[in-house]
Structures are given as C-alpha cells and as structure tokens.
Amino acid sequence: MVVDLKKLSDSLSRSSPEEDLRRDLQRIIRASKPQIEETLASGKSYVLRVPDGRRIRISRRIQPAEATN
C-alpha cells in the first residue's frame, strides 16, 4: 500500500478528537435526555455509552447543603 503520508496527516488533522466527541455527546445526550431525566428522578444513575466504547455514569450532583443534612 503506497500512501501519501502528508495527505493522510493533513486529513487526520482536519478533525479534532475533542470536537468529534462533543458532537457525539450532544447527539446522544439530546436523544436520551428524557430517559436520563426519568432515571435520575427515580433516584438512580444513568449509564451512557459513548461511541468509542467508554461508559459514563450520570447522576445528580449532591449539593453541599444537602450533603451536610
């Protein structure tokens, strides 16, 4: 396989891993926002799978005032 490495490098550099992740997250979170809210409202945490395979657990942040009570 003969590849023009300069072109390959340029095409890879045109995308940003962070920007791609932001786009993916926006799409997934918007699509599952009702389920997230529903799950969090019932006192559970919601686990979301990111397209790269990682899983994030979303929960309600315990406010400092609540924590002391």
Partner: protein, 349 residues
C-alpha cells in the same frame, strides 16, 4: 580479490549505515517497510549515509580528535599516504598478493634508496601500508557509523515531536517542513493511523477502533499495538478493553418491534414503542481479558477513531448536560471492569 573488496565496501559503507539508521530511528517511530529492490535499498542507504559520510570525511581530515582517534597512527606526508594507497591497490589488484606481501629485500629495486620507507623490504613496506590503510579506514568508519547513529536518533526524535509541532504550525514552520519533506514519507502509514503520532502529546489521544471481520462480527476496542510484516502490510492488531457487538440480538430486537395493533381491546398494543429507535449500546458485550488479537486475514473493514482523554469526556458531558441547569449533574467515566461485570450496562441503580 577485487570482488571481495567491493563486497566489503558495499557492506561497510552502504548497507551497515542503512541498517544502523533504520534500527536506531525505529526506537522512536517505525519506518515504512516494504520489499525493496536492491537498487531501492542502495538508494535509500546512500541517501541516509550522504550527510554522515561528508561529516566523517571532514572530521577525519580536519578536526584534531577525529584525525587521530580511534586507531592512532603516525600520519605521514601527503605523498606517503598516496603511496600507501597505491601499494594497497596494487596488492588488491594483484593475482598473487601473497608474493607481494612476502617479498624479500632481494626482490626490491636495485637502485639505492634514500628514504627509510624505501630502504625496507617490499614485503614489510606492503604490510605497513596495509596496516596504515586499514587503521585509517577503521577510524573513518568508526566516526561514520557514529554520525549515522546520531542521524538516526535525531530522525526518530524529530518525528516524535511532529504531533506537538503540528498543533502550532505557525511557530514551527521550519521543523515541520523538514519533517514533512524528509521524515514523514519514510514512516509507516499504519503508525499514523493506529497511534496518536499525529496529535500533541499533552492531549493524550487514544485510538479506538471498530473492526468488522469477514464473518460479520464487529469488535471495538483500544489499539494496544499493531504488527507489520516484512512487506509493510499490517499483519494484526492487538486490542484492549474489547467489546463485541451482538448483532443477532440486535436484529432480534429490531424484529420484535412489531407495528402497533389498532385493536382497542388489546392491553399492550405495541411490544415496544416503534417511534423509539433501538439503542445499539446495550448490544455491545464486553469481552473478558486484557488483550485481544485480531489477525489481518480476518479483517474486512476498519473504522479508526481518535478519542480524547477521560477528563475531556467528563467536562464535555457535564457542559452539555448542564446547558440549562447549572451544576446539576455529576459525570464519571466507568472503568472497564465495572462495565464488563455489568449484565445491564444501560441503567444501574
């Protein structure tokens, strides 16, 4: 004898520098490998060796330390040096070199000689010339190989900084031009695709890959390592944190989404909400084990994704979730063990 000398010349002056350069630069970046013809191999070796050769030549002629070390000899005049090389050339081109090396004083010229060099027997003189020439060449080769090694290390180190410099091209215009012109064309394309070579080190980018196999199985994981054959082709990929997509279950779930019945007497008119797309996330099954090798023969398709580090994922997710409610959500990235142990990866209580 001439054939032997030519072979030695090719080995020590062209092939060894090429191998040395490739070996040392490969500590930092794998070079492009492919089966070259002898001409291509020689061209590569000459191109690599040109600069170190010139530097070594200049050094052994002009610089104080390099002129004498290693293999020190008493350097004669220019004409004596020429005579040494002439004698050695005569020896090498002779059909009977042993006769010249073992020649007795009687075989020497009958004319009286004034020079001490010429007063000795021709055999002795030939031996001494051979010794001096070998020492000179040994000294030159020592410095030549040293410069080739330095060149190889510099090549690798420069290539390693490519990602960092590329993030700020205006500031590093000259080194980037050098790398893109001379170094990048010699690096394996798989190194660009399967490592974070192209990205700044501080971003800590990982490579996630989806591999569709010839048998239809789909795997996803982080690239841990990759292997290249002697012809430069990918032979396999080592993955970690691997998940396999359960396609059968996914199709079953899709089939199960039967259209809703219009019969009002039915208590559950739809087996699932047909408007709601089936999330593919639950069909990714973690594969136990830390390393998973997939050979090139079974790979039909690759989808390479460069992924930002966990901290970036958390902050982005929190930012998107908290778009309306400030500081309401807490996000953590699950470890792979947690995900693998879970039978219900979507919702945890």
């Amino acid at each position: 004898m001439i054939a032997l000398v030519t072979t030695c010349f090719l080995i020590f002056y062209i092939l060894v520098p090429g191998v040395l350069f490739r070996f040392l630069s490969s500590w930092f970046v794998p070079l492009k490998l492919f089966e070259r013809t002898r001409t291509q191999e020689a061209t590569f070796a000459v191109a690599v060796a040109l600069l170190p050769f010139a530097a070594a030549l200049f050094g052994v002629w002009n610089l104080p330390i390099m002129r004498h070390l290693p293999f020190p000899i008493v350097e004669g005049t220019y004409s004596e040096r020429r005579q040494d090389y002439r004698r050695v050339a005569t020896l090498l081109s002779s059909s009977d070199a042993s006769r010249l090396l073992l020649a007795s004083p009687s075989a020497a010229s009958t004319s009286p000689s004034t020079s001490p060099l010429l007063s000795q027997s021709p055999g002795d003189a030939n031996w001494r010339s051979l010794n001096r020439v070998l020492r000179r060449q040994g000294r030159f080769l020592a410095w030549y190989f040293t410069f080739v090694a330095i060149e190889g290390i510099c090549f690798g180190l420069l290539a390693k900084r490519y990602g960092d410099w590329q993030s700020d091209p205006a500031r590093h215009r000259v080194p980037l031009w050098f790398i893109r012109t001379f170094i990048l064309p010699n690096i394996s394309e798989w190194h660009l695709l399967l490592t974070s070579f192209n990205w700044p080190t501080k971003e800590k980018v990982d490579v996630s890959i989806d591999i569709l196999q010839n048998d239809g199985l789909l795997y996803q994981g982080r690239v841990s390592d990759y292997f290249i054959g002697s012809d430069g082709k990918l032979t396999g990929i080592l993955l970690e944190n691997v998940n396999r997509f359960d396609r059968e279950a996914f199709h079953e779930a899709q089939k199960a989404r039967t259209p809703c019945t219009s019969d009002p007497s039915t208590s559950d008119p739809c087996s699932s909400d047909p408007e709601q797309p089936i999330s593919s996330a639950i069909f990714w099954k973690p594969i136990p084990g830390s390393r998973f090798y997939i050979g090139q023969g079974s790979i039909a398709n690759l989808n390479v994704r460069f992924v930002a580090r966990d901290q970036t994922l958390i902050s982005l997710a929190e930012k998107i979730l908290d778009a309306e409610d400030a500081n309401t959500y807490e996000v953590v990235v699950e470890s792979e063990d947690e995900a693998a142990n879970s039978q219900h990866p979507d919702i945890y209580s």
